[in-house]
Symmetry: C2
DNA sequence: ATGAAAGCGCTAACAT
DNA sequence: ATGTTAGCGCTTTCAT
């Protein structure tokens, strides 16, 4: 509406009485320029309200100063917090941030990666939804820097950021054991990944064929921590206490938790593998009219806002989600800016938060 | 690493034995092409693994098929859910989505808008952090389609999406009144916007100078609903019951709520203006060892995950956040695709959710 | 229906 | 230090 069309570098050069090359050098901040010309160019640019066309620039340089993020579901507190971390760093470094959701399906993840690729992002942060068969990620990693967050992909040798899920889960369960609990239920997604299911997984661990955590999905890693904690205390793991929900959904989880609660010999404590499972567990406990911690104790993986203001507060294994996002974005941008070192596997520390949802049982140490 | 560089349309044209123009027509899906040539071109493209360079395309067409979203803070459940809605639509329509945070400051909002502008988005969805003095938004609106979400800007005539905050808040407070409550505290952000503060605002409303809701920030609109509900029931509004937190922060809100709870004549119910205030209110109620709804009733604006599984459940005024995001993105893309109609002000319906946090008082109807 | 040629706005050699 | 000249990869006249 403002009458004239957007000013280009040619317009600026003409008004300043210099070549477009000189104007470009001043405006783009590359090459040499005398302060005399620089002033003229700047003045002309100011006068014309010149704004560089990043598209034209990117077409030549091949860099867009934009990164992509493939989240599972951006509206979940987990990904939302990570996104904030990624966004913080992107903003600071003056990068754009393109986001997409995979809804934890490979098909959508492929679609997302393709979109980001077509938008020519300089790199991407992905929370891969499958630890295997990620050819599209392998292809992406050949075309640009790629950082994996929360999960890893077997055989894909790129930078990764996460927490030590095995150790953090072991710590959470160990607290329950230290409080005297012997029948501890676990509520976890545990989808696919392990072809032969929980029984085989337990057998393998017991038989000394310890799976390589790198190839495991987080909830399986957390199950491993649960098993480790039991082993360390000399307590046998009862497979009947492990609820394998099979999907990242509270609707699917609640009946599984109810099954645990309704069992003849009810567990005295529950350990949940992530925020969604914890929410479903709270609902199920409420539905059965049970009280925490009198009737049942609870420790949840992932710290959520409400855990601190419900009564009692809920104990949690807190992942530094925003920091995870920041770290991933920083590693990515380092790569984009040319860093060449061997792939890094960064593990940030998780924190055990105690709030009163664990009750001491008879026989506590 | 794969040996050859990325195939361009020139490579495809050469291999297919046609001109780049013809190749472009086939690959870009514009203009005419015989099925004979089309086949050849497609085959060549396939063979070379051709992927169009969107940058080059955008440079010519001036369209990037990317939209931007400026949120307050993407990690809050409110914005995260809206973002998901925006992202749903963007994904469906094959648009990229660039996101930024304003942290509710004008300076960062300007920075965000500038970034999006430079990235040449085709349009943007903004949740403006100030209802006045938004010159940067006015400028943006001249350069591209702009849709405002959750809030409006006085004098900026563009599409907007939100809920009827006045009516929805009135409904929530009316339920408390119907349950017999007469001393209802309100906890709200209520930052700036109204130069002379709450007292003057109340005077104005009472004096018949009803402010135009369009020019009000949501929490002020919700206060208006609170006042309306009182007026309709013939109950005088006690300014002492209104906690003006002044910032969108739980840390700032909690002491204010404690002040209300510690007052000589404690309110029998609280109405909170958004999720952050509700969380702070829960914490304060817990800190004083009060029980909901025995000691105090509560209705919160915005429905949050945990409200359904705490005991008792918390009553809420639920905004359809994901739908808000979807609607905003749809309106935006319609504009981008050329729709020319007068600016629309879309109001989606809020829902009153009852869960048991409101107790009937003496004198209830 | 197809091709030749001219750019989109900018940067990157290459001269000078 | 500055200007000239080519493009980046694609779309879009304009012929034919």
């Amino acid at each position: 509406m403002s009458g004239t069309r957007k000013a280009t570098i040619t317009d600026v050069a003409r008004l300043a009485g210099v070549s477009t090359a000189t104007a470009g050098r001043v405006l783009g901040g590359y090459g040499y320029s005398s302060s005399e010309k620089r002033e003229k160019v700047l003045k002309a640019a100011e006068e014309l309200g010149y704004r560089p066309n990043q598209l034209a620039r990117s077409l030549i340089t091949g860099r867009t100063r934009t990164i992509g993020f493939v989240a599972g579901d951006i509206q979940s507190p987990f990904y939302a917090k990570i996104l904030r971390g990624v966004s913080d760093v992107a903003g600071d470094r003056d990068f754009g941030l393109l986001i997409t959701n995979s809804d934890e399906t490979v098909a959508e993840e492929m679609h997302a990666v393709r979109l980001l690729h077509e938008k020519q992002v300089d790199g991407m942060v992905v929370s891969p939804c499958d630890t295997l068969g990620a050819d599209h990620l392998r292809a992406a990693a050949e075309a640009m820097p790629l950082v994996l967050i929360d999960r890893e992909v077997a055989g894909l040798d790129v930078d990764t950021v996460g927490v030590d899920n095995v150790g953090a889960a072991r710590g959470g369960v160990a607290r329950l054991i230290a409080a005297g609990h012997r029948r501890i239920g676990m509520v976890a997604e545990l989808l696919a990944g392990q072809p032969d299911g929980i029984a085989a997984f337990l057998d393998a661990v017991r038989g000394g064929t310890r799976p390589d955590p790198v190839a495991l999905y987080p909830s399986w890693q957390r199950l491993l921590g649960y098993i480790d904690a039991h082993d360390a205390a000399g307590i046998a793991v009862d497979p009947g206490l492990i609820a394998q929900v099979g999907s990242y959904s509270a609707e699917a989880a609640e009946p599984q938790v109810l099954r645990l609660l309704d069992a003849p010999e009810r567990p005295t404590a529950l350990f949940t593998a992530d925020g969604v499972m914890t929410a479903a567990t709270m609902a199920a406990i409420g539905a059965r009219g049970l009280s925490i911690p009198q009737d049942i104790s609870l420790v949840g993986f992932d710290d959520l806002d409400w855990m601190s203001f419900v009564s009692p507060g809920i104990d949690a294994v807190a992942q530094p989600r925003r920091q995870l996002g920041k770290a991933a974005a920083n590693m990515l941008i380092e790569r984009i800016e040319g860093l060449e070192v061997a792939p890094r596997r960064l593990k940030l520390a998780a924190r055990q938060v105690q709030r009163g949802s664990v009750r001491k049982q008879d026989g506590a140490g």
